[in-house]
Structures are given as C-alpha cells and as structure tokens.
C-alpha cells in the first residue's frame, strides 16, 4: 500500500477497517462482556446501598471506575466522611499514573485536548487492550482508542443501571453474572500471553510477569487494599529495566 507521508494530516484514514471508530468498538468485545457482568453486580450493590437509579447512572458515567464505585458505596453505607472516601478512591486509582505514562509515547502525536479526553476514560482493561496494539504500531489511532473506550464506557453505564433495575430479581442470574465477569481475567490471561510473545527477549518478559504476580499476591495477602498493583508494577518494571542491556534501545 503506497501512502504519501508528506500531508499535514497524520491520520490518512486509509485503513478504516483497523483504525476507525468501529474497529475500536469491535476490539472492545471482550471488555464489554466482562463489564456487563461486573457492572450488573456493581448496580445491584449500589442499589442495595440506597442509591437511586439516577444516582447510579451519574456515578457510573462520571466516576467510571469499578473498584472505586464499590469502595464509594460501601464506605458511604458505613457512614464514612467525604474526605476519607475521596482519599481512598485516589489511592485505589493512582495506579493509572503508570498506565497513562506507558501509553504516552503512543499518543504524543495527538493534540492535548484529545489526550485529555482519551486519558480520562482510561481503565485497567482499555489500557491492556490499547498497549497490546502498541507492540505492532508506532502510534495509536485516536479514533480506534475512542471507539474502544466509548464502547467500554457505555456498556459499563448500561450494566450499572441494568443491575439497579434488576436488583430484586437478580439472584437466579448471579451464575450468569459470575461467568460474564470472568471474561476480564480471561482477557488479562490472553493479553499477557500475547504481550510475552511480542517481547524481543522472551525470558525477560516471563521473569517480569512471574515477579510481578508473586509481589502482587504477597502484598495483597499482607495488606489488603490498593497497593498491590502499584508495588508489583514498580518492582516488575524495575526488574525489566535492569534486565534490559543499556546499549540496546527498547523498541516497544
């Protein structure tokens, strides 16, 4: 395929089937299944904590963070102060700093306002799907990422509201919810294997993965809370850096 690179527009749109909004929405399929399951459960919990349907819609659209929403409603039900809730939510979500930083080389071609919009919708799941694509492409398409994230966002909000509306009759559906939410760990497993397969040095990636998993479990067993992912990521990535020869430029 011949492309003129001289044009001012960095995204020529010649590959709509892989770079466009719809392709992004399609690549959100696994996330959508998982979010529907988790979102239904979240909606039930939020409803049980006394939030109205309108409040649940507002919560899932504006906050849009699974673990933070569970924390917010459970702390609210326990009568905790606003400052305690906000601080806990911050600690739970500060891990996204690492993911946002890892994505930044692939989004720096975009204007700042697009970085703000795309970054604001970043979740664990959209991050791992997006970063899997970065191994194959030097930069991410804003439309593809937008399609991916908008789909995930809408499914999450719909699932939360569905959970609230179905709350009374959901007990027999809990098995289905459990299976649907299992799409997320399966997706993590699949993406982990795919990430390891594109690594230039396989044993380095495997060492990082095993170290990170062990650290995460160790921290989580001793200190329940938000720190496991952050500490495991810092330790794992530092090991990855130490195992990278200084003379060789990292390619991905």
């Amino acid at each position: 395929m011949s492309l003129s690179i001289g044009g001012a527009v960095s995204e020529p749109g010649v590959l709509p089937q892989t770079n466009g909004w719809l392709a992004g929405a399609r690549d959100a399929f696994s996330i959508a299944m998982g979010y529907y399951g988790v979102g239904l459960a979240a909606g039930v919990v939020e409803h049980a904590a006394g939030l109205s349907v309108a409040e649940i819609l507002f919560l899932s659209v504006v906050l849009y963070a699974g673990s933070a929403q569970f924390i917010l409603v459970s702390m609210l039900a326990l009568g905790q102060s606003v400052s305690a809730i906000v601080l806990t939510v911050f600690f739970v979500n500060v891990r996204h700093v690492l993911m946002s930083a890892a994505l930044s080389p692939y989004l720096r071609h975009l204007p700042a306002w697009q970085n703000v919009l795309l970054g604001a919708q970043l979740t664990d799941e959209t991050f791992v799907v997006a970063i899997a694509r970065c191994g194959r492409e030097p930069q991410l398409s804003a439309r593809w990422l937008g399609g991916l994230q908008l789909t995930a966002w809408m499914v999450w909000a719909c699932a939360n509201v569905s959970g609230a509306l179905l709350a009374g009759s959901l007990s027999e559906r809990l098995l289905q919810t459990q299976v649907l939410s299992f799409a997320l760990p399966c997706m993590f497993a699949g993406l982990l294997v795919l990430q390891l397969q594109v690594q230039s040095v396989r044993w380095r990636g495997v060492s990082v993965a095993i170290t990170s998993a062990i650290v995460a479990l160790t921290v989580a067993w001793h200190y329940p809370g938000p720190w496991a992912v952050i500490i495991a990521t810092v330790v794992g990535a530092t090991l990855g850096l130490l195992l990278t020869p200084t003379t060789v430029e990292p390619t991905a």
Partner: protein
C-alpha cells in the same frame, strides 16, 4: 427512584476528579518532553507487570463482590493461558475460558 441528591453528586464529582487526574496528567506532561532511554525501557516493562499483577490478584485473592478464590477459576485461567499460547487469538481465549468456567461451575 430518579432523585439526585446534592451530597451524592458532590461526592461523585470529587471522586471523579481524583480519578481523572492520575489518568490524564502523565499523558499531558510526558508528551511535552523526550523521555530518557532508561525511563522508556522501564515504561516498556510496565504492561507485562500490570497484566501479571491484575491476573494474579483476580485469581489468587477474593476481590469485591464478583470473584472469589476457587479451583474452577484457577483451572479455567490455566486453560485460557494454554488457548492463548496455541491460538494467539484473544477472542478464542476469552470464549473458551468462559466456557470452561461455566461448565465447571454448573457441574461441581
């Protein structure tokens, strides 16, 4: 059912603010400067580390309302890892992983 309490709106907006900042600030700040090679090597190792940590926590630690620590989950995740290694297909991995989990849950 459709009421929207001011106190809830305020709380959600504050929580959203502290959620959005860590998601957005690195994208804005790091895109303005050229990162040193060591930092790029460190960031390049972040995805594998994040994925492994998230996966380990979902399988190994009871998490909120929707996952628990059970052998069915462990077995289904091992199946998913094998399917991913052989097929290199994310969709197939997710579908077979869910199928294995559903079968294990309904039979045992």
């Amino acid at each position: 059912m459709m009421e929207l309490r001011v106190s809830i709106v305020e709380l959600v907006v504050l929580c959203a603010l502290v959620t959005v900042l860590p998601r957005v600030l690195p994208l804005i700040l790091l895109s303005r400067i050229t990162l040193p090679a060591w930092l790029r090597a460190w960031l390049a190792a972040v995805p594998v580390a994040v994925l492994a940590a998230l996966l380990a926590l979902q399988v190994g630690v009871p998490n909120g309302q929707w996952t628990g620590q059970d052998p069915a989950m462990l077995f289904a995740i091992v199946s998913a890892l094998l399917v991913a290694t052989v097929s290199r297909s994310l969709l197939l991995t997710v579908l077979i992983g869910m199928l294995v989990y559903a079968l294990l849950l309904s039979f045992f």
